[in-house]
Symmetry: C2
Subunit: 463 residues, 2 copies
């Protein structure tokens, strides 16, 4: 019960890396088709979208319900409510006692979990295919009949507060990343941590919880994704008997403010006694795939060329050849309803400081901006990413995760299915162009990056 | 018409300095009474508070209406609406044509103006006393009968956008201060500029304007302050005929989020070709007088001791004696419904850089923290501030401004009347304590300060 939130922070911070991780599940490359997953989809009369990704390797399924609501949809002053509410979804309905949902899944030999991001909240179970209808009954039930006891509302606050303490307040890296994001995303909820600010978690009222449920949980704000040993025709009758019985609600459209352009360079520093190794992060705002699909694809290739293994540019040059860094990476995360992010990070070698390492990385980036990349780097990057996508389709939960996230962040089924073809259209000119557009020092895109230095606490010196 | 917003930014940024400016209007020191202004007050049945500050030196009055709504009360995505709405209040009612309000005041020999802050919006006129009732009629009229033509809604956007361009976007100092405040006030509307973010101003809808008026403009959210040649008994019948006829409305309580604790040091830099002289600002969050009256009073004394003229600590040490700075100041602004601010700023002498100057200022502050201040510095600071307050009561608009601002930021009439006595209670121990509490480098209060360096654009060097 208390384990089911472990993904949310990772999803938020390293969503692109996480996506790749999901891809790397199984290694049976098959030829590329136009449709990678052959997903089938339809929409119920009540507005709920249903996606089925057939996979008949074993008689099991992953059943996920994704809601188009996340931390970025919270009311001002109630940060963390989406994630907190995700906890409450396990606290019983008019028909089930608190905890009964997960116990039932476990007794049937399955496992269940949930996570919250800035743009979505998702609940999922993996189980033997014959129990699918039972899962649908239970999940449809808590979509509209949630009835957690008020005592659980209060006790669950302590659980979330403890979770926050462990992952953020007692972890200088977590805390520093939270503070950097809050500085990067001015005027935007992506700067607010998914788990929420400590004092706002403490301040939740029972009424806030109820109105959050009323505002966001309904079939027409949900997407059902089933991956595994079923077909669309097989599940239709079960869906009709369960989710199909629920009534739609009226919703306000989700809105997101704009980050105003910011021209000032920003540097943040945190010293902490539990840090042994100096390191830095450089955070940029970049377009998401929803905001700019073409540039997003080129940024994925750029990431792959710069930093996806020991032979790619940054690691090879700075760790292997020059020996100036212990670690170095460039990552791009483009899965979001609004802005994506780029992260450059590294830890300098013993005789180097973080500022020097940043200058060396800048040199590598300036080289890409000035001279572009090799044709062979682009084609090899495309091939690697395509292979990973093809591998992914043999996984059970991976494809469900990919579709759920795409559909809650403004993408379509076709965007997912055609990604393998789309990524192949990226040229070396595109890669050079996005490096120039989003990584130029003198002409930042939207705002200058925020640079953060994390270092060991200096020894106190007597006056 | 287009002139009436010149105060708002100054009020916001340097409200404490502005308050002192208002005090320095007239120089007729008189003995200190328990009540500095002898203000009289009552509340109408509809909830509107009325304050009269008699001043019979000349047959003139200042008539102000303050609303308990400011930029910090705006909806997310509609930043600048309070200020923009202030413009619209001059665009006519069911009875008056656009611009007729100000023309009428001018034709009667008076002048009118308005301004917006984070916590309030205020409208005021200064005029011969016999026209007071006419002003009340007009001001009561636009409180409930505003009817600007939709064409003016659109054209006024251009006016505000131009205002923003001139004061912020084309002014590197304004822009930099805006960006620093947005970094300092994480999760809080005080980080959003009063004038609003450019793209959000462009995006106002006619419906947003109407709901802003409906939500906030009503007698029970307004305070009438009249200063000048009247008594409470004289104005009561006029008030009853005008404001007394208006119906109250239901309001949501004003809420403000909390700034989460932030432990990272933050440094911002902006280089600009129109900057000739390097300078820096260091911004701290501090308690407002509403949040902590005792500490706020001690911070006012600390400010006075550090930086209120050529013989006070910072200027004397760093400009006169050491010749390390061209200018240097420490200011505290405590007038706010939520947090106050402290600003340390300076421009280094030719052979000094900003970092060195900051270190020298830090030494002065550490000296106060370690050794306190002199008894004589405290008593002389108290005397100077008391004199200024006593001078202020002979001004016409100054006292009205002081009361309006106090009452819209959580203070009471007694807080204003007793300020002269309260400030005299500050001891040198209090001053040392607040220096330690709010200015210690290693244990920041609530969050570390944001340090900003503004400097001339470096000459481009060919590669």
């Amino acid at each position: 019960m208390l384990e089911h939130k472990k993904f949310y922070e990772i999803l938020y911070k390293f969503s692109s890396a996480f996506l790749l991780l999901l891809f790397l599940v199984c290694i049976t490359p098959t030829p590329i088709n136009a449709k990678t997953f052959n997903a089938e989809s339809y929409t119920l009369e009540n507005g709920m979208q249903v996606v089925v990704i057939p996979n008949h390797r074993a008689p099991i399924i992953t059943h996920m319900v994704w809601y188009r609501v996340g931390a970025a949809d919270e009311e001002q002053g109630s940060s963390g409510m989406a994630h907190y509410f995700e906890h409450l979804m396990f606290k019983g309905t008019q028909k089930m006692a608190p905890g009964e949902f997960s116990r039932t899944v476990k007794n049937l030999g399955g496992n269940d979990n949930a996570f919250t991001g800035q743009d979505y909240t998702a609940y999922f179970q993996s189980i033997s295919v014959e129990h699918l209808e039972k899962l649908m009954q239970m999940e449809a039930d808590r979509m509209v009949n949630l009835a957690p006891p008020e005592a659980d509302f209060i006790s669950e606050k302590s659980v979330v507060l403890e979770e926050r303490r462990q992952r953020t307040d007692n972890d200088p890296k977590g805390l520093f990343t939270e503070q950097m994001l809050s500085t990067l995303f001015v005027n935007h909820p992506y700067g607010t941590p998914v788990i929420g600010w400590l004092n706002e978690i403490k301040g939740y009222e029972w009424e806030d919880v109820k109105s959050f449920y009323d505002n966001w949980y309904a079939p027409n704000n949900a997407i059902l994704v089933i991956s595994g040993d079923v077909t669309l025709d097989q599940i239709k009758p079960m869906v009709a008997k369960t989710y199909g019985q629920l009534k739609p609600k009226e919703f306000k459209e989700r809105t997101r403010p704009e980050v105003p352009p910011l021209k000032s360079d920003t540097i943040m520093r945190l010293e902490h006694q539990s840090i042994n190794q100096p390191s830095f992060q450089k955070l940029y705002i970049a377009p998401s795939s929803t905001q700019n699909k073409k540039d997003s694809l080129a940024l994925e290739i750029l990431q792959e060329i710069m930093s996806s293994g020991p032979t790619t540019r940054l690691y090879k040059s700075l760790v292997v050849e020059q020996k100036k860094a212990i670690s170095v990476s460039f990552s791009y995360s483009g899965s979001a309803l609004n802005y994506g992010t780029m992260w450059i990070s590294g830890a300098p070698a013993d005789d180097v400081n973080s500022e020097e390492l940043i200058a060396l990385i800048d040199t590598e980036i300036e080289n890409v901006i000035a001279n572009g990349v090799e044709e062979s780097e682009v084609s090899s990057a495309i091939q690697r990413l395509q292979d990973q996508a093809v591998f992914a389709r043999d996984s059970l939960s991976g494809p469900a995760m990919i579709f759920g996230r795409a559909l809650t962040t403004g993408n379509t089924i076709d965007d997912v299915e055609n990604w393998v073809e789309d990524i192949a259209t990226v040229t070396k000119e595109d890669v050079q162009a996005v490096a120039k557009k989003y990584l130029s020092k003198d002409t930042p895109w939207l705002r200058s990056p925020v640079v953060g230095f994390l270092s060991p606490k200096k020894q106190e010196v007597a006056e």
